[in-house]
Symmetry: C2
Subunit: 682 residues, 2 copies
């Protein structure tokens, strides 16, 4: 009998052998095509060869140490970017691949986009090149201690001093302190500060101002500004999210970012022409978060699938005397494989969203903002749904690893902590569902008023509500389990459910409920609509991408993943298909059977799918999920580097720090012996 270690390598080889398609054919899809993949794989190799980005020690480091490691990364990143002239896309991938939020991350992902979109052309000519070259390092200072994303409630003020032609920036209260601002705490020398613009006592609402924070000469904080790092967080430990308070800080009038609004030398305020254009940034970030969700879910699935393929526990096969591969238990398949299916669904919806956003951006340059609403609503809905799905999914995948999932060496914990922030930032997930539902409700009212109205495909189904009596009598047409696999049956079911929830929301509103009493209805509806469009995007994405004959094997395999996604989602939401009689009990049973059958169908290809995402071992940084399956050896190896085992904490004879002072007195009986207290009182 081979040792457990050798068995793991046999198991992983056997898994690879049974895959029905070539995983390498799929990988380019996730890198944006063959050519891009070649480039990005070169970039990965470059980063792997640079010692400052090494991550072998990462799991042993406390926050201060992680921050100290991040500063050399900042410098080396900029050097390499400049030396190789990395494209913006490559720069972004660089920072994804090093898998740590270096403290200039938000300079590039928030400050620069805000500067580019909000500064006037003249301002950009001056500040743009400085910021792009990191002479100016900036942060985006919106959130305050007491105020989240609602710009209207910010307390920081920028008051015009007409005489001196300056703005005076103030944080009048504790709760007005800027808080959560990445790159602010220690690194940034400028901030794009959102502050209430005040002229002659009149409040014009929040506007962005470029405020110098630290001396460009020696980095000392400028007078009137208190800046601090805001302390430890769940994740993003290398990032200096910061706290800042302003006390009569003066900046030139020209430091207001003046692309959309302006204030003249005379103190005259001019309104923006398109007020909503100033909000484009959040939409862009939300779109990114959908792709980020897909990547993160795929990462968790890769680790979980590989480890559950080489981990053997429980039932013993009498012929081989081997325990069962954990991945062969339905309970494990049921928890991991749907996550794989969600990863694919999220990938396809990410593409869909990217394309919509690109079209919107192209239109804007032509002055056409017609897509703004759709981009806003769909990026909100998908962000809300996909970040939650992924945040919960990673944790579920971690739990499938058994005890070793609790070790940092699992590679499942550090990136999950980082990811957990996404459910809150750029619009709290529950809150975002209101935007989606309000939009659908409006479309419904519009189409009732005007039944000939053209609705774009993802919400076209709302038309079915116009003839409500016949809508109410809609029933699912599936007579067999096989019917249940048909795209028309599936889409009709999801459409019916979402439409019903729109109708119910409208009824509730009509019967006098205030909008904020309808939170739960909005949450339910937004989820139903998003689940529907994700399935539609999955179908369309598949058709679009695997239509050549040689890709048919691939197509069939991914189609099984699609069915799993559909059935699992239906099963999770089963009551919503049952409660108005749309599904019969028999159809509900089809759904449950569909889940079981799909799990069986996907199981043989599980490792192939894990491989297809193309993650490197360096990136995964996981003892349990590496390509070669040597989980136990790697776990044991990694313990060697644990600081508690090294000099300073364990001496040459193997005795732990503190033994003489804290343990020896106990072991040698130099502490008063224990005797249970007599009487009740302490």
């Amino acid at each position: 009998m081979p040792s457990a270690e050798n068995q793991q390598q046999l198991d992983i080889a056997a898994e690879r052998a049974q895959c029905t398609f070539n995983p390498a054919l799929l990988t380019p899809l996730f890198y944006g095509g063959e050519e891009k993949m070649r480039q990005l794989k070169k970039l990965e190799a470059m980063i792997d060869s640079e010692p400052v980005f090494d991550r072998d020690d990462r799991y042993f480091l406390g926050r201060t140490e992680r921050f100290k490691r991040a500063l050399p990364m900042v410098k080396r990143y900029v050097e390499l970017r400049n030396e190789h002239g990395l494209t913006p896309e490559e720069s972004a991938y660089f920072k994804t691949y090093i898998d740590d939020y270096i403290p200039v991350h938000l300079h590039e992902s928030m400050f620069l986009p805000v500067l580019r979109s909000q500064a006037s052309d003249e301002q950009l000519k001056v500040w743009g090149p400085q910021a792009e070259n990191f002479h100016i390092i900036g942060c985006y200072a919106q959130t305050e201690l007491g105020h989240g994303s609602a710009l209207s409630r910010l307390e920081t003020t920028a008051t015009l001093d007409i005489e001196r032609d300056q703005w005076v920036i103030n944080s009048p209260t504790q709760s007005s302190a800027k808080f959560w601002i990445g790159t602010l705490g220690k690194i940034a020398n400028h901030a794009a500060v959102q502050a209430k613009l005040i002229i002659n006592g009149k409040d014009y609402g929040a506007h962005p101002f470029l405020v110098p924070l630290r001396s460009l000469k020696d980095h000392t904080p400028l007078p009137g500004i208190v800046i601090k790092d805001q302390g430890p967080k769940q994740g993003a430990v290398s990032m200096d999210n910061g706290y800042a308070r302003f006390n009569n800080v003066r900046i030139p009038r020209e430091n207001m970012l003046m692309r959309f609004s302006q204030v003249s030398r005379e103190g005259v305020y001019s309104k923006p022409i398109h007020p909503k254009l100033a909000y484009g940034g959040m939409t862009a970030v939300r779109t990114t978060l959908i792709n980020h969700s897909a990547l993160s879910m795929a990462r968790a699935v890769t680790i979980a699938t590989r480890y559950c393929a080489v981990r053997r526990q429980g039932n013993v096969d009498l012929a081989t005397d081997l325990e069962t591969q954990v991945l062969d238990y339905p309970a494990v398949q049921y928890r991991i494989l749907p996550l794989l299916s969600h990863a694919f669904a999220t990938i396809f919806s990410g593409y869909w969203m990217n394309e919509m956003y690109a079209e919107y951006n192209a239109n804007i340059s032509k002055g056409d903002v017609s897509l703004l609403k759709d981009v806003h609503v769909y990026s909100s809905g998908l962000k809300s749904y996909c970040t939650k799905l992924t945040a919960d999914g990673i944790e579920e995948a971690r739990r499938c690893l058994g005890g070793h999932g609790y070790s940092m060496f699992s590679g499942m914990i550090d990136f999950h902590r980082q990811f957990l922030a996404t459910v809150t930032y750029e619009g709290e997930n529950a809150l975002l569902t209101q935007q989606v539902s309000r939009y659908l409700l409006k479309l419904y009212k519009d189409v009732v008023r005007n039944p000939g109205l053209h609705l774009s495909p993802p919400s076209k189904y709302i038309v079915s509500l116009v003839d409500y009596p016949s809508f109410k009598n809609q029933r699912c047409g599936a007579r067999t389990l096989k019917d249940m696999y048909r795209d028309d049956v599936i889409l009709a079911a999801f459409q019916h459910r979402a439409a019903r929830l729109i109708h119910e929301l409208a009824q509730a509103e009509k019967s006098g409920a205030g909008w904020s009493d309808l939170n739960l209805e909005c949450m339910r509806l937004s989820k139903a609509h998003v689940q529907y469009i994700m399935i539609e995007n999955f179908v369309n994405g598949l058709e679009k991408r695997y239509n050549t004959p040689e890709q048919q094997k691939l197509y069939r395999a991914v189609k099984q993943v699609y069915s799993l996604h559909v059935f699992y989602t239906m099963e999770t939401e089963l009551s919503e298909f049952l409660e108005d009689g749309y599904f019969s009990p028999v159809q509900a049973a089809f759904v449950r059977q569909g889940v079981k059958d799909s799990l069986k169908a996907v199981r043989p290809n599980a490792l192939g799918f894990a491989d297809c995402f193309g993650f490197t071992d360096k990136y995964l940084n996981s003892a349990l999920g590496s390509y070669d399956g040597r989980a136990y050896e790697r776990l044991a190896e990694m313990t060697e580097r644990e600081p508690l085992n090294l000099e300073g904490m364990t001496d040459a004879s193997g005795v732990v720090w503190g033994y003489d002072e804290y343990l020896k007195p106990l072991i040698h009986g130099r502490v008063q012996p224990y005797r249970a207290r007599e009487g009740a009182k302490l």
Copy 2:
């Protein structure tokens, strides 16, 4: 208008004023009565006055620092325990209250119980007092790198050398290394090692042996033993979970723990009389985990409720110009208040389990093991359900805190990381559901064979399946929403659902499915049964504890929490009540309405319930959840202690460590400037 800080104090006072009962009346319940509460509150004060247990710095410390802080805690804990003669219950509470796993935690919670239950009386006479006084510090070494809870697959061997009257302990393979053993890595000088007992080549299966690990004189590891700390983990960072490998380690024959099995000088093996008695330990720990779940859920709810009462965001009241208390949004109520209801449900089921365990223990001393099966099954089922509910619930509560929930200062993260281990240890949660379902299935078969069979109350409902045709026609009798509040209606619904799932499992088995193909059915059934008994325990617990007239206000308030628990659970599982037609669509609508109504009913008492658990601010260690509601001030205060803001990381002029080397070259333009690459190649 008051400042946000003052407003927070006004808000929390207003919340306290609107509570319909006196929270202080409830607190003793959670401490086990008035008298115990007085004692334990004294203990809390004693601990708070001891500097080594101070937790102000905790969130800033990396793992090595946390471990270094834990050693003085170990010594001081033992000194105080001995000095004051703390009872075992008080000692246990001591370690709960300091809220950190000190590295001797498992000496007392695992090693000592194993020693007491598995060592013979003669062995106990020698080792017991030494272990109780920490001269022997022990760990319980069962889990191996490649093997979890299945004793039968352990690889570590103990081979009898008859000639020298010794056991020879070996770890023959990498995967046989002991792993995850708390207190092993650095602290323990003995281990109760589970190893395959081998005599003359015959394998008698796993048995426990007392193996010295480190010299009692100077703590150096003994020859033939490699011991290491196993590295960083999700939580339990102060604990030295360890790795050990044995190479021909010799111990006296008498070091086998011989209460149940014995091996004589001649090498003759004697079997235990009651084989299952050796497994009592896990059941005890599982029972504790139910209580631990309740406590942890209550803690998360306390923090979330207090902060959401003082946090104002979103809609503005025109009269007061105040934003809405976050706790007034249904979306927030829907995520926090059901957790409160689950905390109560878990508390009552914890009591029920404690009582059953106490009865079982009392019986055992009389040689009666009849309750073993029940204790095993119910502790498994409840542990599986309650730890998952709580692990997920804490995270949900954290997300309700908005952005500040991501700060360690929220007080929601550190203890959650610790708690997350419970879903895996002492029986992985998904796995445990098989025990519950197998038991129910057996009862079903028994009662079908013998319809007169007496079933104990929590599974009595199975009898209804005997007349299956009339069972199949059962329908929920609720005609109004009010009917739905009736205990008989509620319990009947949960009984019907669980019984149906038992029947379906039996059918699936009859139709030829292997047991391990029925994982999903087992998971579903176990959950249904546990949800049912939790509701029954809630009802009974309420009746038992609040039956005096002066407690009627309390009773009414907790009863609303009970209804919320019921409706929320029903809504979560709605499809399982609908899919066989037991609920009609109208009844499903009652359930959804019941959730909304219950949220409204519980809302005014939310803060009262948060207060009633009696947590001290020291224990909560949360900027957001302290009793006085001063959330923003505390958050700002806590940033002062962040090491990045202190000497070593920030100099006197406010400049960060590493500026000269890593930032100045960028800011001062000493790095090659950026120019986008020409041509595609990297």
